[in-house]
Symmetry: C2
Subunit: 330 residues, 2 copies
């Protein structure tokens, strides 16, 4: 059964008490769950970051494909990844959660297990939220509040012609996993074998290094796919980009490298896409994650894909509609 | 049709540009819609307030009863009322909005009209959010960020035995309006004649006065009904309360005073409930809204209703389940 709001809140509060260590370490949460608002403190000289992301059943996940732990993990990962994309430090999460009649307590507990394990990894407190009965399906909305030293946020608008383009990790792994599920060849996948999709790691720690070393001129996360998110950087920076096809770090899923198309357009990933001035030495690995140079920013305002044989084609921006369609190009 | 995310975002951005006046006045929004996070600034010496509230079709509103402007207004009012309940100043709103296939553009525009009119009234910017297709019904989640001078937030936990209990405005008006709709006697009500329910005013300005004059020892908003919300203050403050039935300011709806039961247990209202030390002179009106003393805090941890003939009965805590049931006691 869905718990009445008060019961769920008292449960949330108990959950969040387990996080007291995190809270007292940072002293960021002056008042948490149980009042009309949470009261947060940020370090002096910092600005506040805030972001919100839906995780809706049937749109962002399917209960038959995603174990509850994965739904909880991915829900929080979406928020953490947005904080990372600004070069920020996450502070507190708020969760609005609506459950349909008949949701089993066990599902809810496992959802919170996935959510809170990831929260603990990044020293983030669950500081509040809302609960409701849902008219249909599990509906979650994650709100993340973070901070960044004043004027140090890494925006989408800072890319300049000549800058090199970089990505963290590998591309297309999450979308290729979804492909396997959509193809019907697999009804269920072992989440531990497909962590890119089921338990992605938001790149908060890499982002912090980039900010501290002032390496990145612009940044975004690749939740909507490389072509779409690169187009956002280009639009906000009023520039264009060349992407070198052969340089793209293709993920390996179920024993084979993913297609170039999935690497270019597949979403549901939480890698970072950033630019850095040409002269800057960007390490090939940051906190053990590979960082790859995949292209360059140009003055002319469109996206070009450069293939190994040096042919150039326009790079279309396909957009990623989450689970509305099987894969962006099939 | 539901707009694709980018279109809706560019529309949101245009909407929010109209609010530039508000932004530049406060300089609170360093980066708004169009990046991975919004970047906010709060005044030095302030703490951050954050809260989130669902507005789900069929749970918190019905499209056949509530005009789109009212849905947008009430959505934001829920967030503003939580900031008021802490004695805070609202800064920025974030809106997660999922629309079912087939939602008409006109409905969306009117929703934003209601939302942004109220935002302008309280000098609040729409600084970001998320959009999605909804599996079923209109789903909105409002996130409000505000601020309050350090350690000045008015919590639920500050009530002490001997304190007097106060409410702003009148009680039961919103619930009585819902009753009219549920009774079937009225299929549709003219929203202008029932503003308590369709266009409630969050009590931000009253709360600011209470904070500045340090008048309130505890505070909450009455969105879940007087008995429920008073029980929250009592639980957090570890005290009990006596409520004087004859003192309750009953609202007038469709020409008659609402029932005592609705005043005690009806929700969907955005009045403030607060306590103040016995000696303090609390004005009978603050920013033109009546403020009424309705009882006192006592040491014994339960709620008592004192009637005119001095009989005392236990005041049950009924809880308010939004639209899940017609009225709390029928």
């Amino acid at each position: 059964m869905p718990l009445p709001e008060l019961k769920l809140i008292s449960r949330l509060r108990r959950y969040s008490r387990h996080q007291r260590a995190a809270r007292s370490r940072t002293n960021a949460i002056a008042t948490g769950i149980g009042d009309d608002c949470a009261v947060l403190r940020i370090p002096p000289g910092h600005e506040i970051l805030a972001t919100t992301d839906f995780s809706l059943e049937g749109v962002h996940f399917r209960r038959e494909w995603h174990p509850a732990e994965s739904v909880g993990h991915r829900c929080l990962a979406r928020g953490l990844s947005d904080i990372a994309a600004m070069g920020g430090d996450p502070i507190a999460a708020f969760l609005s959660l609506a459950l349909p009649k008949g949701t089993r307590q066990n599902w809810v507990d496992r959802f919170f297990k996935g959510f809170l394990n990831l929260a603990a990894e990044f020293n983030v407190s669950l500081a509040g939220g809302d609960t409701s009965q849902s008219p249909d399906g599990v509906l979650a909305d994650i709100i993340m509040v973070g901070s960044v030293p004043k004027t140090n946020a890494i925006l989408r608008s800072g890319a300049r012609p000549g800058d090199r383009i970089y990505v963290t990790g590998e591309l297309g792994g999450s979308a290729a996993t979804l492909d396997l599920l959509y193809s019907g060849r697999k009804k269920k996948l072992d989440p531990r074998r497909f962590p890119n999709h089921f338990f992605p790691t938001p790149r908060v720690n890499i982002a912090r290094v980039l900010r501290e070393k002032q390496m990145a001129t612009s940044m975004i996360d690749i939740s909507d796919g490389l072509s779409t998110d690169l187009s956002h950087i280009c639009a906000e920076s009023r520039v264009g980009a060349k992407v070198w096809a052969s340089a793209l770090p293709l993920a390996t899923v179920a024993g084979r490298k993913v297609d170039l198309e999935l690497a270019l357009h597949g979403g549901e990933a939480y890698e970072l896409l950033f630019t850095a001035k040409r002269g800057i030495r960007v390490p090939t690995q940051i906190v053990t994650v590979p960082v790859t140079c995949i292209g360059e920013i140009v003055r002319r305002k469109n996206l070009t894909l450069v293939r190994t044989n040096r042919t150039r084609t326009s790079l279309p921006v396909r957009g990623w509609q989450h689970f509305q369609q099987p894969t962006p190009d099939k």
